[in-house]
């Protein structure tokens, strides 16, 4: 290869890069545009309750897309990704929380951090990067594992970090909540973040890295015989998915305006995994569809839990119905449609 540009080469190369842009843009747009339309419709109705439901659902889209980058391509079910949401949420709080109250919640923060006013967007980026970095460090050891062993090791990561954050009082307020985070996560911010997450996941999926990790998922020995370093490929996906999950955690904190360690625990683990399984474990479309479907389902049940009046009677489902119905839906999907609602389908992708 020489440095000079060979005119005969440039046209197939240009054609190839155009093709590649199409391979990213089409499936991303096929997911983002419907979300945009949905948001516009909801904004036009002007119902604040609906808007906040959709905002939360979009945050789950970010979390589940992050999960899907790793689980979908590696085939390893991770019970530990909520760890990265936890790390992201707290890292953003360190940078942006609650003015002078920050040192009261987190008295051991170094002075420069306690007084810093980091712009919200930058703070989110830094927080998600920290989550991705922690994923990278953990992954160096954990990505040597495969299958069930990896799943269990990832669950133990969640336990370790929960315990650590609950006892790291000076930085995390321990078991109590941190309140007063700037609540900048509107419908449009959440939509933008979901679009970014979808774009990252699609870029990864159509890249040669995604392809090689799926080869490892299908048959690790055959992938290695094809020159694929399984550990490297898992580590790349784990790091990227840690970043996106971290972003999801940041958004969640700034949506509610308050965070506590217990928010990022088994409930969220189960919910995000349920969303992915319901939609389709191996598909990003499945991740998005599953997140929206389960979020909508939960909302409907919650309406019943609060009670609806039919004529003179108040129909009310008992507290906890939400979890039970969700479990039933999950079980039915696992039994009757184990590939999830969309299966292997990716919208906007030609096979």
């Amino acid at each position: 290869m020489t440095d000079s540009v060979d005119p005969r080469r440039s046209s197939p190369a240009a054609a190839a890069s155009l093709l590649w842009i199409g391979r990213v843009a089409r499936p991303s747009a096929a997911l983002i545009v419907p979300l945009l339309v949905l948001c516009i419709i909801i904004a036009l109705t002007g119902a604040p309750r609906l808007e906040s439901i959709m905002t939360e659902a979009l945050i789950y889209v970010v979390l589940v897309a992050g999960l899907s980058i790793f689980i979908g391509n590696s085939g390893i079910v991770s019970f530990g990704h909520v760890t990265f949401a936890l790390i992201g949420a707290y890292a953003s709080a360190w940078q942006t929380c609650c003015g002078p109250m920050r040192l009261i919640f987190m008295p051991e923060l170094p002075v420069w951090m306690a007084t810093a006013q980091v712009p919200l967007g930058l703070a989110a980026l830094l927080a998600a990067t920290l989550a991705g970095f922690v994923a990278l460090i953990l992954g160096v050891a954990l990505m040597r594992l495969s299958g069930t062993a990896a799943s269990i090791a990832l669950l133990s990561v969640l336990f370790v970090f929960k315990t650590a954050y609950e006892n790291w009082d000076g930085w995390t307020a321990g078991q109590s909540a941190i309140v007063g985070l700037p609540t900048y996560v509107t419908l449009w911010v959440a939509l933008g973040a979901a679009a970014v997450a979808i774009l990252i996941a699609t870029l990864y999926r159509v890249s040669s890295y995604g392809l090689r990790l799926r080869a490892v998922r299908e048959d690790e020995a055959a992938a290695r015989a094809s020159g694929v370093n399984a550990w490297t490929q898992k580590l790349v996906a784990f790091t990227i998915s840690g970043f996106v999950a971290g972003l999801g955690g940041v958004l969640y904190g700034h949506f509610l305006g308050t965070i506590s360690v217990s928010m990022f625990w088994l409930d969220m683990t189960f919910l995000t995994l349920a969303m992915l399984v319901v939609g389709g474990l191996r598909s990003l479309t499945g991740a998005v569809v599953g997140a929206l479907f389960v979020a909508a389902l939960r909302e409907c049940i919650q309406v019943f839990e609060r009670g609806i009046s039919v004529g003179d009677n108040l129909l009310q489902a008992p507290e906890g119905t939400r979890e039970i119905v969700l479990a039933i839906v999950l079980l039915s999907i696992l039994i009757f449609r184990p590939q999830g609602l969309v299966g292997e389908l990716e919208v906007g992708e030609r096979r």
Partner: protein, 239 residues
């Protein structure tokens, strides 16, 4: 410069069982070497050693003077020491093209040259038309051909084919053999061919290596092997 893949006194023990004992072979770029032996003779085990999947208990694997005994399978594959599997092992839920792109990307990620190498390998085995099919939906014979294309896409220096014609009928087997015979000229690599069908082996392999019970029974040019009384008695006799 033409390279040579060798094992020197390779021994493999699984718990009490000795699968290979003191086996030395050599494979030159450009030749087809037949590896023969009854079931359980240690043929696959030898391929596992050569491709880095099994660490030998003793002995060495070398390319020219470079010791590769402890190299990982993926490193060996990228260095051009490539194997197929007796049980094929395709990436089932991926398309035929993607199956063949995986090894290509292990070399040169996403480049135009890479796409071309994948395309060339598919055309060579005659499956360019099927490239958008899901690998898991292919009939058995085509599955085996994809396995070979996937190996060829790495542009190997040494290619080890573990019973590539197993389960094929005579016509398909003959076509495959004709294809294998063209590999050294097309790809410039040495081929180690494990195959039970004696006429096939005698037709395409100039040199043969015969294993029995994990030991070398005979090794040399095919005329010599054909006349070797040990081989005739223990292996050819039955056929």
């Amino acid at each position: 410069m033409s390279a040579r893949l060798t094992t020197q006194s390779v021994t493999v023990r699984f718990h009490g069982l000795t699968a290979l004992e003191d086996v030395s072979i050599s494979l030159d770029q450009g030749e087809i070497l037949g590896l023969l032996g009854p079931n359980g003779a240690g043929k696959t085990t030898l391929v596992n050693v050569l491709s880095g999947f099994t660490r030998p208990s003793g002995g060495t694997v070398k390319v020219n003077e470079i010791d590769l005994t402890r190299a990982r399978p993926d490193v060996l594959a990228r260095r051009g020491i490539v194997r197929t599997f007796q049980s094929v092992r395709l990436f089932q839920r991926m398309t035929v093209r993607e199956n063949v792109q995986v090894p290509v990307f292990a070399h040169h990620a996403g480049s135009v040259e890479g796409e071309q190498a994948a395309q060339r390998a598919l055309e060579f085995v005659g499956l360019a038309e099927e490239s958008d099919r899901i690998a898991g939906s292919l009939p058995y014979t085509q599955e085996r051909l994809v396995g070979i294309a996937r190996a060829l896409a790495l542009e190997p220096k040494f290619l080890m084919l573990d019973e590539p014609a197993a389960g094929m009928n005579d016509v398909e087997g003959a076509q495959l053999v004709e294809l294998i015979a063209r590999i050294p000229a097309q790809y410039g690599c040495g081929v180690l061919l494990i195959e039970h069908n004696m006429p096939v082996v005698m037709a395409v392999c100039e040199r043969l290596h015969v294993l029995r019970g994990g030991r070398t029974l005979a090794s040399g040019p095919r005329e010599e092997i054909r006349r070797n009384p040990d081989v005739i008695e223990s292996y050819l006799g039955g056929h």
